[in-house]
């Protein structure tokens, strides 16, 4: 496990070089690295049939794409009266584009064009579903969950297909969906903007939306537990890490009591 953490730290240092353009440093926040996604990308590429010396580049590439997508989520929509906020918005637009350009550049250097295409397909799907969630065009809780699955996990699915790996994309899908559902439920409880709040405002359905949402959370909770038991016999350290994370999510967001 220690070795994994050292490698992850090394990847974070590599990413940091891309994030540290002096102008970005001056005006915008450094992208927040999603530690869960970093670990899952790492695990996925470890299993892929690629030369050891290239693995780090692949993880960096996937994380650059993730950071590009996340950075564009920070672009504000309200009128910027403050000059600083306006520059911040402008640079968030450019930073996301810059990270996207870098992913293509790195993969072009190592000449894996199929991987460029796999990631591009995932980016396309993610943006389609981000729009559905954002413009509230999902017609049911199930449709919301379906969009969340794609937004959170399409990169893992497409990379998995590219390298013909099944286990890690499946674990990523179940775990990351569970994580996002917990976060959305938590936001809902705190009365902050969540997909559930938005849907509830729009929906005239008599069904118990919160209850249905919690049922979905619980479904993914049991699924990820089953998957970890079944699939990670040979990676006890990673298994333990994810188990701990699930525990934190479940109890810090109190899904269990309500469910």
């Amino acid at each position: 496990m220690m070795e994994i953490y050292q490698k992850l730290e090394q990847i974070k240092r590599s990413l940091d070089q891309y994030f540290s353009h002096p102008v970005f440093k001056q005006y915008i926040q450094k992208p927040v690295i999603d530690e869960d996604k970093l670990l899952l990308f790492y695990a996925l590429f470890e299993e892929a049939e690629i030369a050891d010396e290239k693995k780090e580049k692949y993880v960096v590439t996937a994380m650059l794409v993730q950071s590009a997508l996340d950075t564009h989520d920070l672009v504000t929509t309200t009128e910027c009266e403050n000059k600083k906020l306006f520059v911040e918005r402008q640079l968030n637009v450019i930073a996301g584009d810059y990270f996207s350009g870098l992913y293509y550049f790195i993969l072009s250097e190592i000449q894996d064009l199929k991987m460029v295409r796999a990631l591009a397909t995932a980016i396309k799907e993610i943006n389609e579903h981000k729009i559905r969630l954002y413009d509230r065009s999902c017609q049911s809780i199930e449709a919301i969950v379906e969009s969340i699955v794609i937004v959170e996990t399409a990169l893992f699915q497409r990379i998995g297909e590219h390298f013909q790996i099944e286990t890690w994309p499946e674990i990523s899908k179940t775990y990351l969906t569970y994580k996002r559902l917990c976060e959305e439920k938590h936001k809902y409880d705190k009365n902050s903007q969540s997909v559930l709040t938005q849907f509830q405002k729009k929906s005239k359905s008599p069904i118990d939306l919160v209850g249905t949402f919690i049922e979905c959370c619980n479904h993914y909770f049991w699924e990820i537990n089953k998957l970890l038991e079944k699939s990670l016999k040979y990676s006890p350290a990673v298994k333990q890490f994810i188990m701990n994370r699930i525990h934190v999510l479940r109890f810090s967001h109190m899904i269990v009591e309500e469910g």
Partner: protein, 320 residues
């Protein structure tokens, strides 16, 4: 003469590109489909696909090989326009509401990202590694240019070199790369690819200088925005650099900041227009145009070369 008349022999192939562009935004998501069609139908000269096709004629021209390059470059251009409109808080483009104005900034980000990803899906149909190295490097450079532009706003201590470097990244690079990739995709010899790259680069620089000039010399109706908007927004362009050679005018220009109003800037614009800066900038644009002609001289005679020559000449003379 209309620009299109210089390459009328490409009409059929440009139709293929146009259809492919429209089908590339046929997605299951109605909003992306609508925004994509809205963008593509807003017009645009499709000058990048034209450069791709014409450059492809210096090699083994095959529309099936040209198509992914031309379509991808136009989609990348469209994606960057959508994001640029968010950066500039623009409400109109070519007289139509921008995606951010019609929907909002977030939708514009997602639509732009979708188009960019679609472009990469399409261009990766070609497995020529050099094409991807060239394009990906250019895309990174393009972003660096945008970062510089924001960082250099209201910075009046800029050199001519800084200006050229910035407009290279902002405009010239994608035109240069359109020419280079068209040639590469058709298997043209390396020396030809290089000449076409340089042709596109010089044309692009000339084009941007003219664009910067027109910001002073055109009318508000022609520009679709107030005269002198670039300077008001803190963009230091070539006419401004020349105007600042006059010490009196320089003193007035350097006082411009993000609080300056459109009314306050009017007398300065008038003085810049009256100064030699316009003529001096025009001369520089002309010099780049001549350089582009020079690159064409080394290429084989034919309708593609004549078209490239005429397009460059047209760009050099455009009034808006």
């Amino acid at each position: 003469m209309k620009l299109k008349s210089f390459y009328s022999f490409l009409t059929k192939d440009l139709e293929v590109i146009e259809n492919e562009l429209l089908s590339s935004v046929q997605t299951k998501d109605p909003l992306i489909r609508e925004a994509g069609i809205h963008l593509l139908q807003a017009g645009g000269k499709r000058i990048r696909p034209v450069f791709v096709l014409l450059s492809g004629m210096f090699g083994d021209y095959n529309i099936d090989r040209m198509k992914p390059v031309a379509v991808a470059l136009e989609l990348i251009h469209s994606a960057s326009l959508v994001h640029d409109d968010v950066i500039d808080n623009a409400e109109l483009r070519r007289g139509k509401p921008t995606v951010n104005a019609k929907w909002d900034n977030r939708i514009a980000m997602y639509v732009g990202d979708y188009l960019f990803a679609r472009a990469l899906e399409i261009i990766t149909e070609l497995d020529e590694p050099l094409i991807h190295r060239v394009l990906s490097k250019a895309l990174v450079e393009l972003c660096l240019g945008e970062i510089e532009q924001i960082n250099d706003k209201y910075n009046f201590d800029q050199s001519y070199r800084t200006y050229v470097k910035r407009i290279k990244r902002k405009t010239a690079l994608l035109i240069a790369v359109s020419c280079q990739l068209g040639a590469l995709a058709s298997g043209a010899p390396e020396s030809v690819c290089k000449k076409l790259y340089l042709y596109g680069y010089y044309v692009g620089i000339s084009y941007q200088i003219i664009d910067d000039l027109l910001d002073f010399t055109s009318t508000e109706e022609e520009l679709g925005k107030p005269v002198g908007s670039d300077l008001l927004q803190g963009n230091i362009t070539l006419p401004v650099l020349f105007a600042m050679q006059n010490e009196e005018l320089r003193k007035k220009i350097v006082k411009i900041n993000n609080q300056t109003t459109a009314e306050e800037i009017k007398p300065i614009i008038y003085e810049i227009k009256k100064s030699r800066a316009i003529e001096q900038s025009m001369n520089i644009s002309d010099r780049y145009l001549q350089k582009s002609f020079h690159q064409l001289e080394g290429l084989k005679h034919g309708k593609a070369r004549t078209s490239l020559y005429n397009i460059a000449k047209y760009i050099g003379k455009r009034k808006f």
